[in-house]
């Protein structure tokens, strides 16, 4: 009997690509791109004279160069643009040194700061990037330059990977986790450990005890929020505040972070996962301009 296996891949989030059909890239002076090869997802962003033109957002495979190429191909799809038409490509993210067509690799912290500045405007002061396998708290100035930062990539607690593990354990689709975690009458005590492995065994125990899925998810989202708030507080939070990365799409975690900080996060106007690649594309443009000036 044929079974629909995708419906059982609870961790699988929606991949997407987009381009602006009203923009003619051929008229642009500088076509720049940023490719963010993360631990879980890869994005390619193409900008024409600093304006967002096209992007793609997909899962990272086991082969970093291939993931970068796939993301780029998908962003280019339907645009009539070829890789050679892009003047400068910057690679960022975990796999940044493995983007074969990138002229330069830039750390994801600088790119996220710059990208958040583009997405949320110059009032943004504090950015929390909740990525696939790490968590970054960044303070930025009005130009998108990093003022201070703190990154936790030693452990997967408070990251997308942790959430994927939970979605799988509970059999709840990852895009539904956030909403479902809010369907509790009152907040349960948080799971005591955010370490994904420990939290998973703790959650299994709670399920056996008879806790409904909603309550277990609430307990985990709460623990995750609490953990990243700790990181943010170490850095100091100043409004405006925004969250980027995949977890920014999880209302269960976002609302609990907001509650604990007593600060509202700005509502994103773009896909929160492409912030790093946007920053990369903006740096690519700036670097090319700098190069041209020297000549």
């Amino acid at each position: 009997m044929a079974e629909d296996t995708t419906s059982k891949e609870y961790w699988r989030w929606t991949e997407s690509n987009w381009h602006d059909p009203d923009m003619d890239w051929r008229e642009g002076d500088i076509v720049s791109a940023g490719v963010d090869v993360g631990s879980v997802s890869s994005q390619a962003v193409i900008m024409v004279d600093g304006k967002l033109y096209a992007y793609s957002n997909m899962r990272t495979g086991s082969d970093s160069p291939k993931s970068a190429e796939n993301a780029m191909d998908w962003a280019l799809e339907g645009t009539g643009m070829a890789l050679d038409d892009i003047h400068y490509v910057v690679g960022t993210g975990y796999g940044r040194v493995n983007v074969p067509f990138a002229k330069r690799a830039i750390t994801e912290i600088a790119c996220h700061a710059r990208g958040a500045n583009f997405m949320y405007g110059p009032t943004i002061k504090t950015v929390l990037d909740m990525g696939g396998q790490d968590c970054k708290a960044i303070r930025v100035d009005q130009k998108g330059k990093v003022v201070s930062f703190l990154m936790n990539d030693k452990c997967a607690a408070g990251t997308g990977r942790g959430m994927e593990v939970f979605a799988d354990l509970l059999g709840v689709h990852i895009t539904k986790v956030g909403e479902m975690s809010l369907q509790v009458d009152e907040e349960p005590p948080m799971v005591s450990s955010t370490c994904v492995v420990f939290a998973k065994s703790e959650a299994s125990a709670l399920l056996r005890e008879g806790w409904p899925k909603e309550k277990v998810l609430a307990a985990y989202c709460l623990a995750m929020a609490h953990r990243v708030v700790g990181l943010l507080e170490r850095l100091g939070i100043e409004e405006d505040f925004a969250i980027t990365g995949g977890i920014a799409k999880n209302i269960g975690v976002v609302s609990r972070i907001e509650k604990e900080l007593e600060i509202k996060a700005l509502t994103p106007s773009l896909d929160t996962q492409i912030a790093g690649a946007i920053g990369g594309a903006l740096f690519a443009r700036a670097l090319l301009q700098k190069e041209r000036k020297k000549k």
Partner: protein, 95 residues
């Protein structure tokens, strides 16, 4: 810019902070550290400038609790070599 290198795990928070405004990229801390925690590179957080600053090496970022351990006895802690070497007072430890 304050760059915090390190991590937080179940046992605590371990961060070495470098104030890049103060850091001149002289490399005195690199020489002072017996365990190779530091290196001087082009500022990775500001790709448009060519400033040299000190960073904690990629390899050490996830284990500084252990690498820095020998310099941090529980009682009578002497001044840390990296901090003592820095005339600009650009380095600090969170633990």
């Amino acid at each position: 810019m304050i760059a915090n290198y390190g991590y937080k795990d179940g046992s605590g928070e371990y961060f070495i902070s470098v104030d890049t405004e103060k850091c001149t990229g002289c490399g005195d801390c690199v020489e002072a550290c017996l365990y190779g925690v530091f290196e001087v590179v082009e500022n990775p957080l500001d790709p448009l400038s060519d400033d040299q600053v000190v960073v904690v090496t990629e390899a050490e970022r996830k284990k500084i609790k252990y690498t820095c351990g020998p310099c941090k006895p529980v009682s009578d802690r002497p001044p840390l070599p990296c901090m003592a070497a820095c005339l600009e007072d650009a380095i600090s430890h969170s633990w």
